[in-house]
Symmetry: C3
Subunit: 159 residues, 3 copies
């Protein structure tokens, strides 16, 4: 499909800003990458392929996104960990009637524990609907399909 | 080297489509990314650096690519696993007399087992010859140089 | 921020050439990606976030970069290992008064041991100042912020 290169660059910039906000632990900025009504969910690949809607994490609207971050900040007393996202294979699939673009891509997150141990924390794909929100591209919907069913949802940062 | 940006984007689109076909387990689509006479091989870095031609997997022509997928589908009774490719460092090295472009890039594949365990399954580089096949870019040759000698060739999906 | 696409492509080419030089073990080419006065350092994320300047590795000027490679070549008698870099999330942050561009990005390095075992060797971010040095982009400064404090500095290749 023939995608405008400047649009593609804008999409990649959105992804890049999103990743650095999380990896920098600027989680309070994370909801800003979504529209007011933006949806975010994390679903296992297994459920996704079976068409089962059950999500591990589901936030509907910017308020829920902000609540999630507040809850994380208040609840989490675990050892400090750091996360490093990498993304690739960005594919612009098309635009819906409302102008929202469907985009998919792959991601990997490496987690580093306080003692220095590193491991793959999550990998899978992003399935996004992206819209132009008053001049800035934002996620109307971001579905994170994770390959592994084994994830500690209590600890999970935004992916 | 000065590469036309739209050509570069077309190459990256080929890589992206290829990756998603494999990660989606749409392996029957995999041969479509090669020309009729397309060659595919997986070789260890050790053999590659010593100039030894012995490949772990060698497919010469689209028929052999399709045979390989059929064989995999029939033979493999192992637990379901999923794969997540990431690619980077795409370098267009030049064009040969026949118009085929030489391209190299790096890749990593994370495998997720049925129980949720994730690990690096393979990493290394792609050495490609890419041609315009009636309007679509395809692999005339894809050589996958894997860093590790320790790979179970019975289980190996297309990389 | 609105970045010229051709500039962005030049930056990505610099990153790509850099990565392939290291992964190919062409370490003698590594200093060529820096200006004469180019600085290179590896610092832990912990120290970086606390504003502590202590670096694990610090090279100030091209001579020190070359010395480091010579020392590695002479000293290292360990088993052969290979490295595979991947990079993503390239963000051009702006240009300073002297024209140097500030760029950040993420990286991951997978190490493969001689027996075939693969693991995440390092991950984190690059914080770069990049200048046009007589027509070629080069690093005036590359700061590698690694997520893990657990790294064997004796063994460390350029990241």
């Amino acid at each position: 499909m023939n995608t405008d290169q400047s649009l593609r660059l804008r999409i990649e910039n959105l992804f890049t800003n999103y990743v650095h906000a999380i990896d920098d632990d600027r989680l309070e900025d994370w909801p800003d990458y979504f529209t007011d009504a933006g949806r975010y969910r994390i679903i296992t690949r297994e459920n996704h392929e079976r068409g089962l809607p059950a999500a591990l994490i589901y936030c509907d609207g910017n308020g829920m996104l902000r609540d999630r971050i507040s809850a994380m900040r208040n609840a989490n007393v675990f050892d400090p960990q750091t996360y490093c996202h990498s993304g690739s294979a960005v594919q612009v699939l098309g635009a819906a009637d409302d102008g929202a673009m469907s985009v998919r891509s792959n991601f990997t997150v490496i987690r580093t524990m306080n003692d220095g141990a590193m491991s793959v924390f999550a990998c899978g794909r992003y399935l996004d609907r992206i819209t132009d929100d008053d001049g800035a591209l934002k996620f109307a919907e971001r579905t994170v399909v994770i390959d592994s069913r084994r994830i500690d949802t209590l600890l999970v940062i935004p992916l």
